[in-house]
């Protein structure tokens, strides 16, 4: 099992980042995500937005490895998320739905305002990769983790790309530059 944590800071307010997070895909920086559906969504009695989605992705790893560990392409993941506007926190947890006998990839993302600077947002990321019952377990785990780390880096750029687009949309529609920032 490999456990990895990572922290990143966006120079945008929490509302902007969270809005962009819902609209992150499709994204040229991370084209691996090819489909996405909302399965359930509601605001709880406490005012927290709960969402379940299914994501369709293609792993960027060699085909001989996918064959070896029985991974399929496309791969499907389940995501559970909570947006709490009172605490100003967005949390997303993702797990793989395919091949759970061979590999599990658990990922948790949390977006919250920077405690010292309201114009910034902190992203905390936690990934746990467990591969079992196949040859070269260490190799496979490292491969998965590096694939996820590369996606995490792309994820940041991907979100910045969406934020740029949303701002442009607003400028075009409302004609108020920087309204969102």
């Amino acid at each position: 099992m490999i456990h990895n944590t990572n922290e990143d800071i966006f120079s945008h307010p929490w509302e902007t980042v969270v809005h962009a997070a819902w609209r992150k895909y499709p994204n040229p920086i991370n084209p691996a995500v090819t489909g996405m559906d909302v399965i359930n969504r509601r605001v709880t009695e406490e005012g927290v937005l709960h969402t379940e989605r299914v994501l369709e992705t293609s792993f960027n790893i060699p085909s001989w490895v996918t064959g070896l560990i029985g991974l399929t392409n496309p791969n499907y993941s389940h995501e559970f998320s909570e947006v709490d506007r009172t605490k100003r926190e967005m949390m997303l947890k993702t797990i793989n739905l395919n091949c759970t006998n061979f590999v599990s990839v658990d990922e948790k993302l949390t977006y919250k305002p920077h405690p010292q600077d309201a114009d910034k947002t902190i992203l905390e990321q936690e990934t746990i990769v467990t591969v079992r019952g196949v040859p070269l377990i260490d190799y496979c785990e490292k491969l998965f983790l590096s694939s996820y780390e590369s996606n995490a880096k792309k994820g940041r750029q991907a979100l910045e790309w969406v934020i740029g687009n949303i701002k442009r949309d607003y400028e075009e529609v409302i004609g108020l530059p920087d309204k969102l920032t």
Binding site: D37, V38, R41, R42, V43, V83, R85, T86, L97, D169
Partner: protein, 96 residues
Amino acid sequence: MDRMNSISQDCNELKHKYDDCFNDWFINGYLKEKPDAKRGANKKAVVPCEALLLAYQECTKQALETKGIKLSEVTQDILGTDQDKSRTHPGGKPKN
């Protein structure tokens, strides 16, 4: 901006209608509404864009099953219930 597709092409139109409604509600409703402004004594769970979501869910349910995506193991209709609050996400602990 380009639009994200549904996992099933047949559900794209329903998905896009729902996504439009949700994005508008999220940015102009949910984030702007003062917490507890409309809640208070009558606390109740709310489904934003409910009619559009139901139509969209109906479409994708069949499609996901056809693709062999077994959601029953990870998702149950327990969102917002007491069970939900005590629930650990299936991915939250290592599987045996």
